[in-house]
């Protein structure tokens, strides 16, 4: 026997409580300094040669900054797009397919970017 209160406590209608909201805000807070740092790196790289870009991207601070930004951005963009899909796609089948595609796209972006950055740092 479970009371209605016990059933919803900490969960809510999405059965995940405030987890989504919290992750959204957590990654938003992380994105702020990480992307400001990333913007500074990009501005510094405008017009530079291939060799100069590689030399900047193999700086440990820059590489770790970009890797950290990737992790935070991928989580943030995934749950952000999830909300957009849930808001506008009402057919259950299409919604599930798009939610899957969203996860694959976000992870794919993160892994491809991380692969390239690691290759620049360790594999050239």
């Amino acid at each position: 026997m479970k009371t209605p209160l016990g059933r919803v406590r900490g969960l809510g209608t999405a059965h995940s409580g405030t987890e989504h909201f919290w992750l959204q805000r957590l990654t938003a807070v992380a994105n702020l300094p990480l992307l400001i740092g990333f913007l500074i790196v990009i501005v510094a790289l405008v017009g530079r040669s291939h060799a100069a870009v590689i030399s900047t991207l193999t700086n440990p601070f820059v590489a770790i900054l970009i890797l950290s930004a990737l992790i935070s951005v991928v989580m943030h963009m995934r749950i952000g797009m999830q909300v957009i899909i849930e808001d506008y796609v009402h057919s259950e089948g299409r919604k599930i397919l798009l939610l899957m595609a969203n996860t694959f796209f976000s992870l794919g972006i993160g892994l491809a970017a991380a692969y390239a950055l690691l290759k620049i740092n360790f594999g050239l």
Binding site: P4, V53, V73, M81, I109, A113, A116
Partner: protein, 132 residues
């Protein structure tokens, strides 16, 4: 207890029934810039993979970014990022329970618009000044 029932419930009025307000437009722009940033990550991946591949690939992506189409896309992308960033800060302020008065709401909305444009121009001016 609370079983699922299928009752035809009245739907709440949708967007087109309301008069467009500044904060409403800002909410829409926040979502649109978010979606644009989402797909724009492909540009970052293209750039990083090109850098990791070869000087030839790097020259191809650099030529695209230097073309007027590329510059337009990057300029728009910079603005989308900064607008979404400032919009996020606006949400952080609201999270603390502050900034909900009509005047404060309007001020935050205007600050986001003006701030995002000024910061975008600043970033691009710096980019062109430091360009070698």
């Amino acid at each position: 207890m609370a079983e699922r029932r299928t009752i035809e419930r009245p739907l709440s009025p949708h967007l087109q029934i309301y008069r467009m307000t500044l904060t409403m437009a800002m909410s829409i722009v926040h979502r649109v810039t978010g979606a644009a940033l989402y797909f724009g990550t492909l540009l970052l991946v293209w750039w990083l993979i090109a850098v990791s591949s070869s000087a030839t690939q790097f020259d191809i992506v650099s030529a695209f970014f230097a073309s007027w189409v590329g510059q337009l896309v990057l300029f728009g992308y910079t603005w989308a990022l900064l607008h979404h960033m400032l919009g996020g800060i606006r949400h952080f302020i609201w999270d603390t329970g502050r900034g909900f008065n009509p005047q404060e709401r309007e001020f935050l909305a205007m600050a986001t618009i003006v701030g995002s444009i000024v910061l975008t121009l600043l970033v691009w001016t710096l980019g062109y000044m430091l360009k070698s």
